[in-house]
Amino acid sequence: MSLYSPAEGWYYKKVAKDEKMWMVIALILCIALFIWMVMWHVYGKQNPSSTTYRTSTTEFAKLSESYIKKNMVGLDNGVPVVRPKPNTDVFILSEMWRWSPALILQKDQSYKFHISSKDLLHGFSIQPVNMNFQVFPGYDYVLEFKPTEVGEYKVICNEFCGIGHHTMIGRIVVIEKEEDLKLYGYENLKKEPDPLPESGSSGKVLTEAEMVLMGEQVYTLKGCAACHKIDGTSQLAPAWNGLFGKDELVIENGKKITVKVDEDYIKESIRTPQQKLTVGFEKTPMPIFPLTDEDVEHVIAYIKSLQ
């Protein structure tokens, strides 16, 4: 009949007993689902937060950088490690393609995470506990986490963010006792973060060794570590160890030429990354990072030291 007009009187036909029964059950279920969500806000312990702050990519990147500078207690595979105090604000920056910092948290303590992005959308996905949240540039999402189990957790990115998306992985370890740090290779971390160097150090002349240290800091804080490895592996960008002084095959204006990696070339690569593309990495062009002239000097010193 569905292809023809319905039979006379269709509008006034009584609804059958079983159909009526089913509709009532379905409606009760649908209303119950709504009530369940509301009640979970009252009695449940997992609720996405409603707190968001407007921010900008540059503002949040600065916030994150100064947070890490102030609280860093060590490095883990090029990623700064922070051990926040319970009930404090934790700033997590996502960018192509890394999460920073790595965290050491205490079981059953609350931490106020501020999560935002420096570039694209990212997906904040804690594994294996499998909790997933969306990260936007320009929005500071505040989520108060209380880890309930000790162990090692990874933060993976589950929102597509470009060709290196699969390399974007961070680390959170949750401990109960101080000895647990050993399980994760964190026993040699500093107990307290270093006091900040006094500001306005620009006037002072640094020694070469200090320059290298500052360069290493830029490397971890600004995110160079996401693509440039120092262990010789080059998936997304040339590795930095042994880079200085090497001859690189690059493409300039469509032509392949060989250049020597020296101070001028590194400077040019940082300021105008699209000018010369290293052969083999054309698909992952480097973005422009807002580094100061001093930062660049320090980075060069650091690269030089990685022979």
Binding site: M1, S2, L3, S5, W10, K13, V15, A16, K17, D18, E19, M21, M23, C30, I31, L33, F34, M37, V38, W40, H41, K45, Q46, P48, S49, G78, S110, L120, G123, P128, N130, M131, N132, Q134, F136, P137, G138, Y139, D140, L143, E144, F145, K146, E149, K154, I156, N158, E159, F160, I163, G164, H165, H166, T167, M168, I169, R171, A225, Q235, K283
Partner: protein, 556 residues
């Protein structure tokens, strides 16, 4: 110009018939493109093979999404709308010239967007969340396609007006046309939302607009992305009623109920994007809870009403044909050899048990935390849009080949097996994706060993089994789709001509006999049992998910 169908007795406008054919052909082409990409993607995610490089993996993910979810579905729906508004209503096509203009725009859009993607200028995924930027022509292609589709929908309303004015159908519009009309109304809302987001994004990609707020983009984009799925649901359910009629002479046991359910789709789907933002910043919990449910999930209710109304239309008709023994004789004596019937029953089962259950549970604010952006999400919509919509469209095509293309189905034995094979394939694929997602595996991710990252992560060892199962399911579904495409193409272009009812391989049933006396009590007890089983499965999955959620860290 009309011909009168010697099989069904309907008047068929020849202009309309040509348009239906053209749109259907492009639907099949799009599906072929989509599944070719799909099989390559499956073998890339299956880590032991890891077929494609990262670049082509993301490129073909974009390509697959656009061709499967937009081009295949919408081309087929336009063919369906033309069929529903002219053939079923015995009326002529209002403006065939505009039909061809719409068709040309849609084909142009398809070619443009696909070319840009394959050139590597739009590796942005179907969602193309800003600030990811594609080449302007990618957006323009989609806009052209959408404009074409919008014109086609307007033509559908034009046809309805003619049919109404010329009293081509009795007093009341037939249920199938009514369902398709709701699909068309939702299509207008959806395409308008699409214009609101794609036009500024196009201008932004040209550099004429500075900034598209990413959260605003995501909110409005899903007004297109999800509402369009409601077009599919409305179109699909209409076809379910149609096949019930064609195969066993069944009809909704209460048309008022069925029609009201269609209206619920229109009224309660308007902000369907909300459940895509459940774990996003920017909107409050109150906003999320309210806008996903409107306090009572009435769009879900609509589907649950159809979940009873459609099978009961089969059951009641079968009982009137005399298959009255026990609870389920109506089902065991059903025309399973009719591939359209088999496809529709399997689509209903898959849509309800896989797509529907997970859809409702994943769409609740808190449980979304444990599945958001995991591979469980595509797993869910493989259950709705692939088993549900695609298998339904495949099934009805077995009727369209003899009735519209006027050809016999070549390889009818293959056609009879095809829906089963496709169902098994996609069910395996979909269920394994859902389990993988529950174990934390992300969607749209080239390498789940995280090679090149500072750390690595090993998922629960159970994933290996489900990856293999997903690969197996994907391969079976791919083969089933290729069988379908071959059957359709060979039949349409080389099949023997249909010269009358004697050439019909699929039954066309007369209307089931009317009962002699008014029925009291249960009209469809078998269906009631089936829906109650569905309810139990849903409740089990519901508590499983919430139990899992309760075991995670605390967050608020």
């Amino acid at each position: 110009m009309f011909r009168t169908c010697d099989i069904t007795g309907f008047k068929v406008d020849l202009q309309s018939e040509k348009l239906i054919r053209a749109n259907a052909v492009f639907a099949v082409i799009s599906l072929l493109l989509a599944v070719t990409a799909a099989i390559l993607l499956v073998f890339t995610r299956y880590q032991p093979v890891h077929l494609l490089g990262a670049e082509w993996y993301y490129r073909l993910t974009t390509f697959h999404g656009l061709n499967a979810l937009i081009f295949w579905i919408i081309f087929f729906e336009i063919a369906g709308l033309y069929f529903g508004s002219t053939v079923i209503l015995n009326t002529r096509f209002c403006a065939p010239k505009w039909g061809w203009i719409a068709f040309a725009l849609m084909v142009g859009g398809l070619v443009m967007s696909n070319t840009i993607i394959l050139m590597g200028k739009a590796d942005v995924m179907l969602t193309s969340y800003t600030p990811l930027k594609a080449h302007p022509l990618y957006y323009l292609g989609i806009i052209l396609f959408a404009v074409g589709a919008l014109i086609a929908v307007i033509l559908f309303f034009g046809n309805l007006m003619i049919a109404r004015r010329e009293k081509a159908y009795g007093d009341t519009m037939p249920l199938v046309a009514y369902g398709l009309m709701t699909a068309a109304i939702i299509a207008v809302i959806t395409l308008a939302t699409g214009a609101i987001i794609y036009i500024p994004t196009f201008l932004w990609s040209l550099g004429l607009i500075d900034n598209i707020d990413p959260a605003m983009y995501k909110l409005i984009w899903w007004g297109l992305g999800h509402s369009s799925q409601q077009i599919n649901v409305a179109a699909m359910v209409s076809i379910w009623y149609m096949v019930s009629f064609l195969s066993v002479g069944g009809t909704s046991i209460n048309e008022r109920v069925s029609r009201s359910a269609f209206v619920l789709y229109i009224l309660f789907i308007c902000l369907a994007s909300a459940h895509h933002l459940l774990t996003d910043p920017g909107v409050s919990s109150a906003w999320k809870v309210w806008n996903t449910s409107y306090a009572m999930y009435l769009a879900v209710l609509a589907s649950m009403i159809h979940a009873f109304a459609v099978p009961s239309s089969f059951e009641v008709a079968q009982r009137r044909w005399g298959y009255n023994k026990g609870l389920f004789q109506w089902l065991s004596k059903a025309p399973w050899g009719n591939p359209a019937f088999a496809a529709i029953i399997l689509a209903i089962i898959g849509f309800g048990f896989i797509g529907g259950t997970t859809g409702v549970i994943f769409g609740m604010e808190q449980t979304n935390i444990i599945v958001h952006n995991t591979i469980a999400i595509p797993g869910h919509f493989k259950g709705t849009v692939v088993i549900g919509t695609t298998l339904t469209f495949m099934g009805i095509t077995y009727y369209l080949i003899p009735l519209i293309f006027r050809r016999k189905i070549v390889g009818f034995k293959w056609a009879q097996w095809q829906p089963w094979l496709f169902f098994i394939g996609i069910a395996l694929l979909s269920i394994s994706m859902i389990v993988l997602g529950q174990l934390g595996v992300p969607r749209r991710h080239w390498d789940s060993t995280f090679s090149g990252g500072p750390f690595t992560h090993n998922f629960n060892p159970a994933v290996d089994f489900f990856w293999a199962l997903m690969m197996l399911g994907g391969s079976i579904a791919f083969i089933a789709t290729i069988i379908w495409i071959l059957v359709v193409v060979i039949s349409v272009f080389f099949g023997p001509k249909v010269n009358g009812p004697q050439d019909m391989q699929l039954t066309i049933s007369p209307l089931a006999p009317q009962p002699t006396k008014e029925h009291k009590g249960y009209e469809a007890p078998g269906t009631l049992i089936l829906t109650l089983i569905f309810l139990l499965v849903f409740i089990a999955l519901f508590f499983l998910n919430w139990k899992w959620l309760a075991a995670t860290w605390n967050v608020n």
